[in-house]
């Protein structure tokens, strides 16, 4: 059966109450009744005693006055007299009935008192020895039964009334008490359908308000985790989308020029141009996959940390990029002091190579790139073309390029800074960018731990 909690409470409470009420009323009725019976018996006893004593006296008087008169006359006059007062009398001697106003015969031993229906009416029967006779005294106590019935009826009506009242009042009380619970249920049902915009009622100070409060805080946690998950999934989807898009350009070039070589009667020079395009795009694909794998590797495997000299890492980067800087006519300076940090030399080299490479790309001939480090931060500065705020927001996203055609022309895969960000995160560090259009860009690698 699908019963609500409040309905169960209601029914159980009601049953308990009805049982108690009726048990109480029943015992009260029985108590009152037995008291009435006792008092009826007492009064019957007293009356019997009086009748017995009167009869004894009258019999003695009669016997003393005249022997001729039969005791049965006296008995008849007693019998008639008391019959009118609801009392049957019967006298026996040696097992023979001498007189009886009883409509039926009653077996009784002397000295007993009991109740018996005589002619369908309840009587208290008292049997005792009186002046050599066994006198059966049966008093009509029909009023006792009538009283009992009236009493029972009154009590039953009262019980019915009180029960109905209680049932109604209890119903409304329990229903209104469980209303907050019902509202909470509706809220959870909505959440179950995926609607996270709802919230539970927190008004009041009772358990329901407390439940509502903790429910809302739970909901808040779920919401923030959901949005984090959604953002993450969105980011991943974007990466995949961008990736699919990025793959198409090199594929188009490779396929197109290969087909061109196959179909067209090309000159030696054209053949060279076409094959160069094919090779460079294939290289770009290779680089893209390498960086993606590196990024995945850095993300999945916590790098082995060691105490390393940061200045050596930076100078290594400067040495590796010196030929490229010279070719572009950019001055590449390594301005460092002795700093030892906990990190992975290989990954940090990768990071600074990328940053310095980007800095070189941003500079025109005559520009300057400076690599610096201090105890809590390292930086790569250039005085190149700089970026605007919109660009700064997106530069660590995979495949984001500030200058698409130039970046591609220089062989960028659009993934370098995404890798740098991962490396920084693996070191518990943060990448911070400062840039002004036309003034240049500074990238800080801040150790936060």
């Amino acid at each position: 059966m699908n019963m609500r909690f409040w309905q169960k409470t209601y029914i159980l409470t009601l049953i308990l109450f009805l049982v108690c009420l009726n048990a109480g009323i029943l015992s009260l009725t029985l108590f009152t009744y037995s008291k009435s019976v006792r008092s009826a018996e007492e009064s019957a006893g007293a009356e019997q005693y009086y009748v017995a004593r009167s009869f004894e006296r009258d019999l003695e008087d009669m016997l003393a006055a005249s022997r001729a008169q039969s005791p049965s006359l006296l008995m008849t006059s007693y019998g008639n007299y008391y019959s009118e007062r609801g009392v049957f009398l019967s006298f026996e001697r040696n097992g023979r009935t001498v007189f009886s106003s009883l409509p039926e015969e009653i077996e009784a031993k002397s000295g007993t008192i009991f109740h018996k229906k005589i002619g369908g009416v309840r009587h208290i029967v008292i049997c005792s020895d009186v002046s050599g006779y066994t006198m059966i005294f049966a008093k009509n106590v029909d009023s006792l039964d009538r009283e009992f019935r009236a009493l029972t009826l009154t009590y039953m009506l009262t019980a019915l009334g009180v029960s109905a009242l209680l049932a109604a009042v209890l119903y409304f009380i329990l229903k209104s008490l469980s209303l907050p619970l019902e509202r909470l249920r509706e809220t959870t049902a909505k959440i179950g359908e995926g609607d996270l915009s709802v919230s539970a009622d927190e008004s009041g100070k009772d358990e329901f308000a407390l439940l509502g409060k903790s429910f809302n805080s739970m909901l808040g946690t779920i919401k923030s985790q959901m949005s984090a998950l959604e953002a993450n999934a969105e980011k991943k989807q974007m990466l995949v989308d961008n990736m699919a898009h990025e793959l198409r350009t090199p594929l188009t070039v490779i396929r197109g020029y290969a087909e061109y070589l196959e179909r067209a009667a090309v000159s030696e020079e054209e053949r060279l141009v076409a094959s160069r395009y094919i090779v460079s795009e294939a290289e770009r694909l290779t680089k893209m996959s390498e960086i993606l794998l590196d990024t995945a590797y850095v993300r999945e495997n916590p790098p082995e940390m060691a105490e390393i000299a940061l200045d050596e890492v930076l100078c290594g980067t400067a040495e590796r990029l010196a030929p490229k800087a010279k070719e572009k006519g950019v001055e590449l300076v390594c301005d460092t002091e002795n700093v030892t940090v906990s990190g992975n030399a290989l990954l940090l080299s990768m990071l600074f190579d990328n940053l310095a490479d980007n800095a070189l790309k941003a500079c025109a001939a005559g520009g300057k790139v400076v690599l610096r480090c201090s105890s809590d931060s390292a930086s790569v500065e250039d005085n190149g073309k700089g970026m605007n705020e919109e660009e700064l927001l997106h530069i660590t996203e995979p495949f984001y390029r500030t200058d698409k055609s130039r970046s591609r022309a220089e062989g960028g895969a659009g993934l370098g800074l995404a890798l740098c960000k991962n490396i920084a995160e693996a070191h518990g560090a943060k990448l911070r960018f400062e840039s002004k259009i036309g003034k240049g860009t500074k990238v800080f690698f801040d150790f936060t731990t």
Binding site: R263, A264, V273
Partner: protein, 214 residues
């Protein structure tokens, strides 16, 4: 044949399109960003614009509404939604990267035929091919070609300077469901060479097929 504007920011792809469309006889102009694409397309000098959707400054979707020249979109986007959007905006066709060169040539030809009408005739080496009347003249005298021979010649002219495989030729001339031998192609090519005396022009390309070099 036609004056075509190529708006594509990837130099490699832009060059690729230009090379191939030039081979089959079109005059090409190259632009590499949205703004210049719009500016050049508005001049009205072109018969067709090959328009990349993702152009710097102005996207292809933004440009198409402002120009009257027929447009073929070239894009890396493959979603049906994007395709429909492009066509709804009035593009005449849609090519998805990476594309086949012959497909590009075919679509350019189809769009030009729809928008400019069938090109009337093509002449080379004293041979005049009239597409509307389906007649061929050599030095003023009519040469009688069978229908399939004429269609084969048309296919070679459309894709001139590009090698066509026997399979491709069957697809272009005999339709896809042709179940005949690829040697049928060889027989027809021989006939064309004989009837028009173009053995020097219509070359056999080793392991590939045939190419009409003009």
């Amino acid at each position: 044949m036609a004056n075509i504007l190529i708006a594509e920011d990837e130099r490699a792809i832009n060059d690729l399109i230009k090379l191939n469309l030039s081979l089959v006889g079109h005059k090409c102009e190259q632009v590499f960003d949205g703004a210049s694409a719009l500016e050049r397309a508005l001049s009205g000098e072109h018969d067709l614009v090959i328009l990349d959707v993702m152009l710097p400054e102005l996207s292809g979707f933004e440009i198409i509404g402002q120009i009257k020249t027929p447009v073929i979109f070239v894009t890396a986007r493959v979603s049906v939604e994007d395709r429909l959007r492009g066509l709804k905006l009035g593009a005449d066709d849609y090519i998805v990267k990476p594309f086949e060169i012959l497909e590009l040539v075919e679509r350019v030809k189809a769009v030009l035929r729809r928008t400019k009408g069938e090109s009337e005739a093509f002449e080379f080496d004293g041979i005049r091919v009239e597409f509307d009347t389906r007649r061929v003249y050599k030095d003023g005298a009519e040469v009688i070609l069978k229908p399939k021979e004429f269609e084969l010649l048309s296919a070679f002219i459309t894709n001139r300077n590009l090698a066509l495989s026997r399979e491709k030729l069957i697809e272009l001339v005999w339709d896809f469901d042709y179940e005949g031998d690829t040697r049928t192609v060889d027989v027809h090519v021989q006939k064309l060479r004989q009837k028009l005396g173009i053995s020097e022009r219509l070359k056999t390309v080793y392991k590939t097929g045939y190419r009409l070099e003009i």
